[in-house]
Homo-oligomer: 222 residues x 2
DNA sequence: GAATCAAAAATTATCTATAATTTGAAAACA
DNA sequence: TGTTTTCAAATTATAGATAATTTTTGATTC
């Protein structure tokens, strides 16, 4: 295994920290102390600072000049904001992707939906769900748009994990199937409409906490 | 004048370079040599590297690992992409801003439109146009969305300046006035519809070059 | 045209200064 | 006498400068 392939130390640290922030291992508002992180990764603080800037660009960290960086906080308002941005951007991407969608792509997307429906924890569900969306949108060929959507997906995943920390129960994603059916039958506008509603929906759902209690929590579904 | 107010050297350098990239002083594809830039700003290359990361996040620079940074290139495809992203995101912002729009805000937006129509160079036109859009969208109260729109505006300005390098002739912006009229009369959906078409439009326009020739160029108008 | 070597530039490490936060002691007040 | 507040010193951490190390690139030679 190559010690360094084609990426820099900064981007490696950034990916590692992003993973921790999204998974909830680093909690909102927590300080990111550059010297500690540098020591942990066996690097100096210079690449660590660059990693912080990358995280800042993804909305996962915030900079307070002369006071360092913190893990970005989020509230229901921002969950809504991210969902609505995703909704309009994913619809835009889908409209451009439709002419380039092939039967093979739709089959792979259906496989991703099946994987999501049968997944036994929230992490594998999220991975499968993300794969579904990426498969349908990537053919749009708009790199800047896709990068924005990726960042919003990361934020969504963070919200998702913060709600479903402990338990998870499988459910069938009827929206995904309806989108695929519409696309297969050439009803692109309808597919876009379902996608917009699907991604933009935010609602209260019963969530089981680690202690076994059940509480209401806001959550995304797409 | 304070040597440092509340911002860091990195962000100052970033702003200065962004200005140069947008104005065209730094050309697409040009290498950003950190040592030279550090020397110019009387700093070391550590803050310069952070500035590069900030520019990268705005889409104004691209990183080539182990080979440094370059000014981001752009083509007609990306101009289109930015325009379409702006169109859907600005419509989303406007819909949320509408309930919070006041007569005072609409008056200031109208003043910005007048300023745009009477501006004698492309830079002041761009500033006034940007002010118009910001005035209408800021009340949406969605910081992440507004930040994305700002970045897209910067990209748009870059395309604009690259087309109209030399001459500029004033013209009346009927779309802006139609949007204001619709908003004043409570026809929010129509305002959103006009805005979407206005921002998303890309077309060929005669452009006078520095040598006095006239050529066709693609350009944004919103 | 390929290979080797040198120069230039990027990346990272180490070191320093400055700003922010915390700690602790002293003073004021109840 | 106990509690709270204020102020200053000490500690800690960030931001930046300087130095060392790779990596890339360009030139020259075989």
């Amino acid at each position: 295994m190559d010690k360094q392939r084609d990426d820099t130390i900064a981007s490696r640290i950034s990916r590692a920290l992003a993973e921790r922030i999204i998974s909830g291992a680093l909690t909102p508002g927590e300080r990111l102390r550059q010297d500690h992180i540098a020591e942990e990764f066996g690097a100096s603080h210079v690449p660590v600072r660059e990693a912080f800037r990358l995280l800042e660009a993804q909305g996962l960290a915030v900079s307070e000049p002369r006071r360092g960086f913190r893990v970005a906080a989020f509230d229901l308002k921002e969950v809504r904001e991210v969902a609505e941005m995703r909704a309009v951007l994913e619809v835009l991407a889908l409209r451009h992707a439709i002419p380039h969608l092939t039967a093979a792509i739709l089959d792979r997307a259906e496989a991703a939906t099946v994987a999501a429906d049968t997944s036994r924890d929230v992490r594998s569900w999220e991975a499968a769900n993300r794969a579904f969306h990426r498969l349908l949108l990537t053919p749009c060929g708009m790199p800047r748009l896709l990068a924005s959507i990726d960042d919003l997906h990361a934020a969504s995943a963070r919200f998702l994990f913060s709600a479903w920390r402990s338990s998870w129960e499988a459910r069938t994603d009827h929206d995904h199937r309806a989108i695929l059916a519409a696309l297969r039958e050439g009803r692109g506008d309808e597919a876009a409409k379902i996608l917009e509603r699907h991604v933009g929906w935010i609602g209260k759902t019963p969530v089981k906490t680690a202690t076994g209690e059940t509480r209401e929590a806001f959550s995304i579904v797409g």
